[in-house]
């Protein structure tokens, strides 16, 4: 993951009046940050924030436990459920300090600590009982597991990126449906999410009864929307403007392998 704050001799360094994050040209405040919401005194706000964090991280967390901790699928399910239930109950995410690490690193460290403690105590968290249970599609997550030669940390990051984009595609679909632009999403799905490499703008135009220029315009518009959705999702799960920028660069500026 790129860390733009790392000392870099070949990187230009700017003055504040030319810097996007400078005192006079700050990004808009992170109003929708779930990380900020996790610190709220209001129970409902905290709940919503937690749901966002859970939605964004449960799948990479499950896969990470399976890979790094070599847990079987039943244990991995229980540990994932247990970790998030415990984090919500004890409000662990409110302790996050953006100056020390990214939220993703913080969450992964917490997860390691949780699993290590559970293993040390010889406990096996039982589903049911007093613990809150979340409706998570573990079966799909299990089917998506593939062997990887990445380090556990890189694997977690990669799976998080994959999951972020998957959520963003789903959000885009919902948005297009809500705004009566189903055809836009269908074009996006057929061209940008296609497995068939023979699909072209011309073939889509024929298939959908549109002019090729219209296909071009619709795709350009829906891609803009997709970009906006991805950035919105990132905003939700980063605590500060700096972290948002870092994650944006990480997500969009590094080859995911």
């Amino acid at each position: 993951m790129i860390n733009p704050e790392k000392s870099c001799k070949s990187c230009p360094i700017m003055d504040p009046d030319t810097d996007i994050g400078g005192p006079l040209h700050k990004f808009p405040a992170t109003n929708h940050s779930a990380i900020a919401g996790a610190r709220s005194d209001d129970q409902l706000t905290r709940r919503r924030a937690f749901d966002t964090i859970l939605t964004s991280y449960w799948k990479p967390a499950y896969k990470y436990i399976r890979l790094k901790w070599q847990a079987n699928n039943e244990d991995a399910k229980d540990l994932t459920q247990g970790f998030f239930a415990n984090a919500f109950e004890k409000n662990h995410f409110a302790a996050y300090d953006a100056s020390k690490a990214s939220f993703q690193t913080f969450l992964r460290t917490c997860l390691d600590g949780f699993v290590a403690n559970e293993r040390k105590a010889g406990r096996r968290l039982k589903r049911g009982g007093d613990m809150e249970q979340y409706q998570l599609d573990f079966a799909t997550a299990e089917n998506e597991l593939v062997a990887s030669d990445l380090s556990p940390e890189d694997y977690f990051h990669r799976e998080w990126v994959r999951w972020m984009f998957t959520i963003a595609v789903e959000a885009l679909r919902q948005r297009c449906e809500e705004t009566g632009r189903t055809i836009h999403f269908q074009l996006f799905e057929r061209y940008d999410l296609r497995d068939d490499k023979d699909v072209s703008y011309a073939s889509l135009a024929k298939e959908f009864g549109l002019e090729p220029a219209t296909v071009n315009n619709y795709l350009a518009a829906v891609r803009r929307d997709f970009r906006g959705v991805v950035l919105e999702k990132l905003r939700e799960i980063t605590a500060t403007d700096e972290e948002f920028r870092t994650e944006t660069r990480s997500l969009l500026g590094v080859e995911v392998k």
Partner: protein, 326 residues
Amino acid sequence: MKWLSDDKLNYLRTVVANPDFSSTKYTFIKELARGGMGTVYLAEDRELNRLVAIKVLNTPEMTEDLRNRMVREAQIIARLEHPGIVPVHDVGTLPDGRVFYAMKFVRGSRLDEYAAVNDSIRDRLRKFQAVCDAVAFAHAHGVIHRDLKPQNIMIGSFGEVLVLDWGVAKILGGHGDGERGRHGDCHPVSPSPHLRVSTRDGTIIGTRDYMSPEQARGEIDQLDERADVYSLGAVLHFLLKDQPKPGKAAEAICSKARANAKEDRYSSASELSADIGRLLDAEPVSAYQESAIEKASRWVSKNRFLVLLVLAYLLMRIFFVFTSRP
């Protein structure tokens, strides 16, 4: 929800990261370089059927102020019409609000890549002199570059020298469009998405190895043409450092350009260029006071043919003197 393969994921990342040129006359081809200021892409101008380099700011969110600054940067570079300064063809706004400007696509190699395969000191000095001339032209138009380094200098396919990346340039007071910035009599022309080091008096701008001391201290008010002269000295140092015997005059030029106190440096890039010219012509340079022996040695070196002719004449005379004796 459909599982995204690695290939699909990388493709979607490019869909999000790459600029949408659909409303312009350009067709996206590929990313060329990613820098502190923005990302440069290779694109095709469909109207003129030629390749161009398009710079787009690296920021997910663009304010009106940033947009204006990017446009100003393009306008300033466009105004610097010089064979050593990369020309700007066009400026515009992408559908997502980001500003872009299209520049000449320069085929060739960066100065550091050029130096890696060309160790002739004279060739390097000639290229360096061309860089000085381009910078001197910008200075004459009241613009200081502030980020001169081998990576920002291109040697084109025909040997032409082009200074790139005027992204952190500043207009000095009394020039440009008359605006005055918050930092005394100069102001920035463009934004930056990251990396800054605040100091007591200002903020550091540039690249550390090539940055003047006043720039490194963040004394924005104190920056003038001599900050670029220092950077040029650092570029010269880069070009000379692998030379076994660059010569005392060349070293003196380098030291004078890189003097810690700006008062001790060349007062302008054109003065530095003139000294490089004198060095190439084996003339005395202003940066170095020669001894009588060095002066004679330089004179001999410069007038080698004449010296050989005189020596040959003298040898012949001596030969005749000895052979004509009875």
